[in-house]
Amino acid sequence: MTLQLRAIALYSHSDERREVMFDLGCLNIVTGGPQTGKSSLLRIVDYCWGRSDFVVSGGGVIRDTVAWFSILLDRDGEGIFIARPNAEPGGRSSDEIYFQRNVAVLPDSSKGFHKNVTADGLRDHLSILLGISENVYEPDRRTTQRPALEASASQAIFFCLQAQYEIADPRLLFHRQGEDGITAAIRDTLPYFVGAMGDDHYINQKRYADARARLRDREREFNDAQALSSKASVTAESLLGEAKRVGLVPPDVFADTPVQLREILATAAAPRERAYAKMDDPAADLTDLEDRRQRLREELQNIRDEIGDLKRLEREASDYVAEAHEQQVRLSAIGLVSGEGDHPDRCPLCESHLATPVPSVTDITRSLAGLGRQLNSVHRDNPRLQGRIAELEAKRTDIEGLHRAVQSDIAARIADNERLRIEQDQFTEQARIAGRIGYYLENVRTVTSNDGLKLEVARLRAEVAALEKKLDLDLLEERLTTALGFVGRDLTDIAGTLALEHGNNPLRLDRRRLTVVADTIKGPLMLPNIGSGANWVGYHVAAHLALHKLFRARHRPVPAFLMLDQPSQAYYPPDRDVGEVDVHDEDQIAVTRLYQLLLDYCTTTETPMQIIVVDHVELLQDWFRGAMRQRWRDGIKLVPVSWLSQEVDEE
């Protein structure tokens, strides 16, 4: 299948369209003066192909007027439309991509464009369109941190574009070569694109790397285990000593042979019952007891307080009783009087009226009786008071008993815990030694019984060998040599046609350095050493044409178009508008030869190839004019002048 360009189109903010149409399977030329937007065409293709770290620059005109960039691809007759909005105000590329298959003609309006695919999605779509088979491989995360590499449309496009600054640069043979990671990507995917490897090569390569990593791990473990068993006797003896020390083995046991030693160790490592009853959280138990002690202490304090209060009351009551008794005794002197006196309010001496009557016997008797009742109340109170005190003292005695009991429980529990802790420590120590013995025995068993780890190592070795064979790197190398042999042959032919320096020497594509090498009698010469801008442009063109010839012949999944930006720049500096040129000049002849070659290449290759050239020269020959699609002179530019005035009008 072939993928070529039918058109490049711009949509303005006011939804007007500006397009450049191309013919399939032939040379397409767009010529124009300086500052007409020629180089933007290649950038638009790059951008619409999904390049992420990129914006179509081209000055304020494009930035201000264009809303959408788009390309219309042709895949064996099916129209594939891709549109991407102009850069966001911040200058960042937009991640909105509109992708549509089965498009007959360029859409008139950008109204229907919307994000329906991500950059990753677009790459997958294009890969499928190109016929790149699924070759994603998820690497084992334990062994590699590198993301999976896959050959995709993103790499395929590197072989189809030559920007103005690339085509004459001796150090950059391919598009974007020299950028971070791109050089490696081109180098790694080249064998795939030239058809030197099968589609499953990547998967197998990853599996191979993964298996080798696992093998390394297991081999290391295996070696460790082996080292362990070679020191066996020493280790085993020292383990036996440890086992005796912690009481796993009686101290009088000795081994005469290694087998016997191993048997003794096996009994030592055997699981055993705990020597004591399991404790159910002694610490928590202790806390309970301590809580209880605290509560009892508190209760005891309350009772003591109350007893204290009651005793104070008792003492105060008895003070009262003593005083009241004195009063009682004095009042009872009334008992010495016989009979009631008369006229208490009259003075018995002078018969005058007394301001304060003399207290009568009745008065005093009544007071005496009142005091008696008070004292009786107190006396009646007293037994209750005593009873309460006795009751509380009994309670106090009880609680003191409980408190003592808890106290001794706590002491006992602390002692218990200490004993249990020691036992537990001993048990832990035993378990630790038993574990070490078990581990040792396990390793000895693994190594000696020739299975387990050893088997796994063997299996992994087999797996690695199998994958190695499947990958058949020798065969790959051979195939690559063959493929590149074809490329070298065609490269030499084309160089000859273009009369390039060293064009008479065998030429080849160096896949590691990604450059063209001329094998001369004096030795290999690399492109930067060949010299002259005209040669560099020529070798760029020749290398790409030679590669595409192979791609086409082998039906490789690389787009069947090649875009060249100003190949004539070595003869005519781009800042000079040469316009129509005559045929007599040396440079003129060379330029004509280049275009003639491109024209012929498209028509003679078995499978159709599309070449799009953007240049500032304009040859007078009919075939050249026949290939010209647009001529950007006399005010005609990529962005129509009317768009600019609209912009002004709108403002």
Partner: protein
Amino acid sequence: MAEARSLLPWHNRPSEEAALLNPAFCGELIARAAQEYERLAERPFPLPFAFLILPLVLHLPTRQALPGRANTTFATWSADHDVLLAELPERAMSLRAVTREALLFLVQHKALALGPDGLSRGVSPLKLSAKLPVDSEDVASTRRAAGLLGRWFANQGTVTTILQTMGVTP
């Protein structure tokens, strides 16, 4: 004679003052002194002496300082207890109303009779030898002291001398 405080009616008195200084008890003490005096001196108990009884026997330190025997010379004793005697006039003044009430009580009940020479046994004397249902050491010693005072006063010189010694003017 300075103006003494008068007593409140029985029911309005603070209870301890009423009980502890009730006229029956205070009267009894005076009666005891009077009776002993009359018995030994064979003449009525001079009225001014009645006002000395309570201050001397009710105040504990004073009571304790009283001589054990009635033949102790007044001059000797008073020289030894000048500090106590210094307080006596004021105490006598504050107890004047109590003494007066006690005397009225006794006269009303005809336990004592008041003549021109002083107090003498009435027609219905207190039953001083009667056994009372309650007793206390404090009260017993007070009673003994009252009796002693009567005998002591009877043994000593003139009323005026005694009153002068005690710092009390009739």
